[in-house]
Amino acid sequence: MANELIEHNPLLKKPLLTILSLAERRAGESRSSLEQTALGSWDDAYRQSPSACVDILLRGGALGEQVLVDGEPYDGTIEDMQFDDSVSEDAVAEERLSVTDVGHELLEAYAPGRTLRALIADRPLYRDVFAAILDACDAEQGATREELERIVGDMPQAQPNPVTKRAAVYPQYFIDALESAGGIAWQGTWRTTDAGKAHAAA
Amino acid sequence: MPSMARNCLVINLDRCIGCYACEVACKMENDIALGERWNKVVQVEPFGEFPDVSTYWLPTMCQQCEDSPCTHVCPTGASYRDEATGMVLVNKEKCIGCKYCMMACPYGVRSWNKEQRVVEKCTLCNHLTAAGEKPACVKNCCGKARFYGDLDDPNSDVSKELAAASPDAIHHLPDAGNGPLSAYILSPRFGEWRADDLTQTTNLYVTTEGSVD
């Protein structure tokens, strides 16, 4: 399952998707130039280098690689080429990255509009809670965690219900779910994302 | 015969709790290679009708035979009896690796040191005992089941332990005239001595499964 690449490496979700969408936008660009571009907007919090992320995506089958030697396709990896005596020492080699079907599926699966719709559609009981959070985070200063806890903490949907034997659901559940779905993002405070705003508007 | 000490180990199986500490204490003290043991503990597989079964753990090591076959067959004198202590020992300098002694030993308690290509066995930790300490297996024994000393000295630990035991609880590994000194104490309360049934093959105690039936 391609999704495992993200699900099993949640901290790498952003950098992996960043690389992937970059590769999609700049189809046919060389690996080194893609990595260079990525580095320009690379976040320290990403932990892994663009190059390590490209390797992960290649291993996971989300990116494909074509080696070009003097502009011609080479049948093998860059390592193969380096040990290949038939390639001249001064040949110019280049790695071209392309997003595979698996990669496209990944980008689609994690497109915020889609994940957000799915989250809210799957949990009609919590629709108002999600809406309240999206609204609160749309404020000029965003919303702090404590503010969201106050808002959610008072809503009936989060309360335990001895009649239905429903356990308490903590504010963190809603924050976490909305962040994972791409509706809000942490920028020192919680902010509604474009996808979140679009959803709220719709 | 000059009067030599009769140093050996006596093991009180009533107290042995099958923890294998003696086996590893021996290996650590003597830096014994993987695959070799000078003191291998084997469990006598439970016998009788379930659940009324008996079992005990039998540590096996050089029995310090009075008439030791290993020293008799050794062509170079590498296997020898030490004059001062009476201990059966191996002088590795003289050992040519012919393994006759390993074949002669009725108890299969001699080890082959692959690296040095010599035969080894329990030395009664004579580097320690010479300095007045006890062998490593005795010191660390978790059941306090192992005793070291001179059978001719009534004040030795071995003599005292045997004196305290009921005569019908004192056993030796099967004796083909070689006179093993090491004694095992096993009281009927805890089990029936079964070593006599275990003498069919030379290396009977060294089984791959770690136990014998």
């Binding site: 965690r145 356990a167 308490a168 | 294998y20 500490a21 993987l34 660390n140 059941g143 306090k144």
Partner: protein, 928 residues
């Protein structure tokens, strides 16, 4: 802000164990006796360092021979009062563990995706800062619930380190794979009933057995009968427990061993009951019934010092208070007086004018009918004949009767120890109740030779030096806030977990899987290999692969590090650490003998993380370094190892020696030493309920329970379920902020057939149990060459009858399969287990860590692929225990050993020790 400079005296007042602590306040420094110097030069080259082991929980005295900064030899310390020179395989393996080539030597960071097993070495500074960055972000974003911490065996576990850290962090979850599955049910429930101590021989409270041979014979009554119920001292704390039980047994103590497996102690027992795994409570109920029916119980003790004569409200299940019926005060109970044939208030301790009925049903002044607690118990167990128990437990009724009589003959100088076995099944709390009840009925409480003694760890619930802030002080500013404590996962359903501040593992997993009620995002783990030790390991793996950040602290690479971790932090082996431990009336010391690479005691990992959070502005973390807030009792977090060591010295000095000025140097200068004479140590327990009460000397001290009597009818269980007051002192008013509330836990033990039962399961017809081996402690020592040489693969024990049925022979490789997975073992056909009972111990294969699929290291020979922790299999009500022993399996023959596992002695050559220099460890390169 209130300062919390908490003195030892302050603790005594606050603690729930005041009498126990007070008893030791008589000990003063003048009891110091001359001891051999700690470090004696053997020659100009070799030093002998007196220290204590930590290869298991027993802390046996050891002597480490140190030459040129390297540990060259270990041997048992002959002067230690408990192990007396003995040293077991695990302890002796310490050198091969210390210098193991498989050590985690430096902080490491994963490169690439999880499972890729690619790592880069990073500095401590980078590691701590990067981890703290993620933690701080999540703290701000989602709050303290985002963190889950765990610990386990191996190395020098400071059991409460994670709970201490979480108390500073301000919330979150802590778990440990033992806990509800090991020791918590006994540690908590037995104390609740007998108001004295639990009966675990492996964990420390059973000290009486060590006294013969130390205490002068004239003062000593050796234990006459010892019932070891699922206890195998030869295979757990071997040097101490195995040795001492052997001593007593060979000096005439009779023993009964209840164990599905023929352990060395079972082999030497007067009666061995090879019980069907998971049915222990059925047997206990039959023992209770037999003792009641045959009037074998201790008449005086039950009448005067238990709640058995008290009348019980049939509607609530609670014992009546005299005030309920207008008969007296609310701290008085109600009995039916024979002489006046009426209900009377029973004051504390006992009104000699009253002659309470022990049994019967009586009509109260308010018209309600009420039974005595003893009558309820009698009715409750009446169906449990010996024949019925024999039938359920696969035993012979005559053998059960013989066992009970051997026990009864020894009473009251006798007792039962309950081992881990019953903690590993859904009946865990009830087994602990049953064990406590039997010793109470027989008056085997605080008597010479009895197992239950009032010499508890002074620092409950376990004798650890490092404590969670506020554990004993509800108002401590760094105690975990109440609302966060109530939000711990699975706590409200299983309130007994609160005793150890723990969460419920299956509920933690569910929260990670579903996000509800909140999702833990960061997992910091300190132990060997959770994937080998947690039930139903596949579920655990799948859940932990989805957390955002996993940090593993350990000494050796395991599958937790290789398969799950993002950061790996090198932890110290016991030979590298400093600690302290009481050994009977003495206090012993663990002295660091060397410190390798950049390894460091785990207490520093947590301290450094706290310091990094403090730098980022986490207020509670800042406060944890402030002595005015943290207080002397708990100490601040430590910036250096020297600070930590000084705290250990202070703790021991102030708590045990009545010295407020100790640091490590002062402790080190005299340890080990006696803090009490052995006579004082022994006498402080015997009949200590009759000693004058500290606050009111005209009354006896009684027991540490609500009624101050033993409470074999433990109605506090009902209150525990309602309010979470772990000592049963709660009320019937359910706590309003805790939902879902627990069921009302039953005051009496009851039997539950294992969820998967060989009586009804035709698809999986055999019943699997586990049990200790002398080579390993939990998941440890699978990568030390001598231990693996001795036990290279897990043996699958099968009775010859069953082997014939399946068609397998000795040495065959097998598949064991349950509804949750399949794994391998190697057949040993043996009469050491009953027909249909299969025994195999936990295992994992470090040799597969470097293979193409490191996950196989925890999968190929790990019975925890078969065990339960899934929601379909019911948990124990009080503790949430999932079932590790007594599950059903089927067995088929395999083609051979799993590919790539090492089975031959020479295979283990790559793990032979590589002695290395004393570098000073991580302390030498980093300080917060």
């Amino acid at each position: 802000m209130a300062t919390t400079d908490i003195s030892r005296r302050g603790f005594v007042k606050l603690g729930a164990f005041a009498a126990a602590a007070a008893a030791m306040s008589g000990s003063v420094g003048s009891n110091l006796v001359h001891v051999e110097p700690a470090v004696a030069a053997e020659s100009s080259e070799t030093q002998k360092v007196r220290t204590i082991c930590r290869a298991c929980l027993n802390n046996c005295g050891m002597i480490a021979h140190v030459r040129d900064g390297k540990v060259v030899k270990l041997e048992g310390d002959p002067d230690d009062p408990m192990n007396k020179g003995a040293a077991c395989v695990k302890g002796l393996a310490g050198i091969q563990a210390l210098y193991n080539p498989n050590r985690i030597k430096y902080p490491m960071k994963r490169v690439g995706e999880r499972g890729s097993n690619e790592w880069e070495r990073i500095s401590w500074e980078q590691a701590i800062n990067e981890i703290a960055d993620v933690m701080w972000e999540y703290y701000q974003k989602e709050g303290p619930k985002s963190l889950v911490c765990s610990t386990g065996g191996g190395g020098n576990p400071q059991f409460f380190s994670p709970a201490r850290f979480l108390s500073v962090w301000g919330g979150g979850n802590f778990f440990e794979p033992g806990c509800a599955q090991c020791y918590l049910p006994r540690n908590h429930m037995e104390f609740c009933l007998n108001g004295t101590a639990d009966t675990s021989l492996a964990d420390g409270p059973v000290t009486e057995v060590y006294l013969p041979g130390i205490l002068p014979d004239s003062l000593c009554t050796p234990t006459k009968t010892y019932v070891m119920w699922g206890v195998g001292p030869s295979y757990h704390g071997i040097g101490s427990t195995g040795r001492v039980v052997t001593d007593l047994r060979n000096n005439g103590m009779k023993t009964v061993v209840i164990d599905p497996r023929l352990t060395p102690d079972a082999a030497r027992a007067d009666v061995w009951l090879a019980i069907r795994p998971g049915t222990d409570v059925a047997l206990m109920l039959a023992w209770m019934n037999y003792i009641i029916e045959n009037e074998l119980w201790d008449k005086d003790f039950c009448r005067e010092w238990t709640n058995l004569p008290f009348l019980v409200n049939e509607a609530t299940g609670l014992t009546y208070r005299a005030s309920d019926l207008g008969l007296g005060a609310d701290d008085e109970y109600v009995v039916w007086d024979k002489a006046t044939n009426g209900a009377k208030a029973m004051p504390y301790p006992f009104d000699p004018a009253l002659d309470p009925q022990m049994f019967g049903t009586y009509e109260l002044p308010n018209g309600e009918k009420a039974r005595t607690a003893f009558q309820i118990m009698k009715d409750h167990v009446a169906e449990w004949t010996l024949d019925k128990a024999a039938d359920i437990c696969w035993l012979n009724a005559d053998d059960i009767e013989k066992a009970i009589n051997i026990y009864v003959e020894g009473c009251p100088n006798a007792g039962i120890s309950l081992g881990v076995a019953t903690d590993q099944a859904r009946n865990s709390a009830q087994a602990a109740q049953g064990d406590a009840i039997l010793d109470i009925l027989m008056g085997c409480i605080r008597q010479p030779g009895s197992i239950v003694q009032d010499r508890p760890c002074y620092v409950e619930p376990c004798n650890y030096v490092v404590q969670p802030f506020g554990l004993h002080h509800p108002d401590h500013p760094l105690r975990m806030p109440e609302e966060e404590a109530n939000a711990r996962l699975g706590y409200t359903e299983h309130k007994g977990l609160g005793h150890w501040l723990a969460s419920h593992i299956p509920t933690v997993l569910k929260a990670i899987e579903t996000g509800e009620p909140y999702r833990p995002r960061i997992w910091i783990e300190r132990s060997g290999n959770k994937l080998a030790m947690i039930g139903n390991a596949t579920r655990f793996y799948n859940a932990m692969m989805t957390t955002d950040l996993n940090v593993h602290m350990y000494m050796h690479w395991t599958t937790t590090s290789v398969c799950l971790a993002d950061y790996v932090l090198p932890t110290a082996e016991w030979l590298e650490t400093a600690y302290a431990q009481d050994r009977l009336n003495t206090y012993a010391i663990r002295r660091p003998c060397t410190q390798l690479y950049e390894c460091v005691d785990e207490c520093m990992h947590w301290s450094w993380l706290a310091a990094a959070l403090a730098e980022r502005g986490h207020q509670r973390a800042i406060d944890s370094f402030n002595p005015d807030i943290a207080g002397k009792f708990y100490g601040t977090y430590w910036r250096t190892y020297e600070e930590y060591k000084d705290y250990v010295g202070y703790f021991v000095g102030s708590f045990y020696y009545d010295r407020d000025d100790w640091n490590w140097e002062k402790f080190d200068a005299q340890a080990p030493s006696e803090y009490q004479t052995i006579e004082e140590y022994a006498a402080k327990s015997y009949n200590s309920h009759l000693f004058p009460d500290e606050d009111n000397p005209s009354l006896p001290a009684g027991f540490h329970t609500t009624s101050r009597r033993c409470e074999p009818y433990f109605d506090g269980n009902i209150l525990l379920g309602n309010t979470g007051a772990v000592d049963g002192t709660g009320t019937m008013e359910p706590a309003s902020d805790v939902y879902p509330k627990s069921d009302n836990y039953n005051p009496l033990p009851y039997y539950l057939e294992p969820f998967e039962s060989p009586l009804t399961d035709t698809e999986y017809p055999y019943v699997l149990t586990q049990g200790r081996l002398p080579f390993f402690h939990h998941g440890t020592l699978r990568n030390t060459p001598y231990t693996r040489e001795m036990y290279p693969y897990p043996e699958t024990w099968i009775n010859p009858e069953t082997a014939k049925e399946i068609g397998i022979e000795n040495g065959d490789w097998l598949w064991l399969e349950s509804r949750r997975g399949k794994t391998q073992g190697r057949a040993r056909i043996t009469k050491s287990v009953a027909p249909k009972v299969i025994y195999q111990e936990r295992y994992w294969n470090p040799e597969l860590l470097d293979s193409d699929d490191p996950n196989r290291a925890w999968q190929v020979m790990n019975i925890n692929l078969l065990t339960q922790n899934n929601d379909e299999c019911p948990f124990n009500d009080v503790y949430g225990t999932y079932t590790l022993r007594g599950i059903t399996i089927k067995i088929t023959k395999a083609d051979g050993a799993p590919e790539g596992v090492w089975t031959e002695p020479e295979d283990f050559t790559p793990w032979l020790p590589e002695p290395s220099e004393n570098t000073g460890g991580g302390n030498a390169v980093y300080g917060a």
